[in-house]
Point group: C2
Chain length 269, copies 2
């Protein structure tokens, strides 16, 4: 999917919502456990209930990997089930030496056919570039993450007075264009979005941290939007576990609908 | 496995060799492809040929993930086949927000029962700690990696004149003890080992980068050893792909034997 196509989807749906398919087997409603593949059944119903309200789906790979081979089958089926017009994100946070990153890229872009994958920057250029070599595929690089641990290293000041996450964003823009490179910036740092937009005016930002983690959609949107919207705001637990019983899909739809309404109001400004 | 038990294995075998099971399906000898599970068959023969010469095995998870669900089955079978006295390393380079890291930890420590997993530090404390909460399991944290990209961020100078990798090593020692925390330090930076030993005197170092990447075992060992040996030196391609035909297991044994002899000589000094 190109940047223009993604923007088109956002305009059509009046939404820049990404639904995180973190289908934790321990939190899936009990009545689904008699299905052959409860994780896929859960995702299927979540997708049916939310697909007109969101433009992207983001399974966090940990929740599938924790189930071993069976988890990978659930992931494959989930990906096949997501409609083509949705942007798909493998939230995998991978990154390794060149020949190994190439294999990870192959796993997510070819074996599984995701549109994008999240990548950790710590190992530098040759760990990120192999992911950028796939046509029409995206790298979403960790910049300033939503968790408390983002203080430990991402915020530490480097030479030239810049924190590490800024250096990551400036450096990575030499590796790939805004047509193939996004950044993860957590909604828990709303005061940083103005600065971040100055560093990366054209890149889409994948923004986790609203919902369960407490980030503020209004603040993020005010400073984070660009002329292509430029935001994919993710909510996982706040949507998919809004309900815990037979009504979970309806509850998820209500929760997603609330966010989408807020987004429509913001986009119409 | 405890640090004392690992040291005992090293003394018994006169080896601190770790064999990297990077069983790239495209490089496995042709005659193995008629097996139901060529990757497992390859690993099985490599393990049979090298198990008395090494103390650890390290499958890089990328090579398995690239094959989807089938790859996870090969990985599980390989892990089951590795003798109990060997230290096992899931080279996965994971790291995510707390609840997600917990799932990854579960995947590698419980579903797959590895002794250790490599973890990326970029997301900080709450992304690493969940891995440290498993008894008798190890975190191997990326510090200074063997690839060229280690220059991009790991080497950048922080406040207090220290490069980022040093800050990572100093900070992480507040999170876990040398009984549960190792660091990855690439053999391609031999001049750094003396400094690194001063920063982390007791931690084992997992050292990739000899063999195909050109690092020097003598230099690494001279400055990197401590009173528990303190080194696990990995070779992947240099051993497992030493041969490319029916004789591959013998060739792997010869290559591993050469490294082990060098190690025995170093240990006897």
């Amino acid at each position: 999917m190109t940047r223009a196509e993604l923007f088109h989807q956002i305009q059509q749906k009046q939404s820049y919502l990404c639904v995180g398919l973190d289908a934790d087997i321990n939190r899936i409603p009990a009545h689904l456990h008699h299905h052959v593949d409860p994780v896929f059944e859960f995702n299927k119903q979540i997708i049916d209930a939310t697909k007109d309200l969101c433009v992207a789906y983001k399974p966090n790979i940990a929740f599938y990997e924790a189930l071993g081979a069976k988890g990978w089958e659930s992931l494959q089926k989930t990906l096949d089930y997501i409609p083509d017009e949705h942007f798909t994100i493998a939230d995998a946070k991978r990154g390794d030496i060149g020949n190994t990153s190439r294999l990870y890229a192959k796993a997510f872009f070819e074996t599984l056919a995701f549109d994008s994958v999240t990548v950790a920057p710590y190992m530098g250029e040759d760990s990120v570039k192999p992911f950028l070599e796939f046509e029409n595929k995206w790298v979403i690089l960790l910049a300033l993450t939503s968790n408390k641990g983002s203080q430990n290293f991402q915020m530490t000041i480097q030479e030239a007075e810049q924190p590490l996450y800024e250096k990551v964003m400036r450096t990575a823009q030499q590796w790939g264009s805004p047509e193939q490179l996004m950044f993860v910036v957590g909604a828990t740092h709303p005061q940083k979005f103005e600065e971040i937009r100055a560093i990366a005016p054209d890149n889409f930002l994948l923004v986790p941290g609203i919902g369960a983690q407490g980030g503020d959609l209004e603040a993020v949107s005010q400073y984070g939007q660009n002329d292509h919207c430029g935001l994919l705001v993710n909510s996982s637990r706040g949507i998919i576990f809004a309900g815990t019983d037979e009504t979970f899909a309806d509850k998820a739809r209500q929760a997603a609908g609330k966010v989408q309404e807020q987004m429509a109001a913001i986009l119409s400004k």
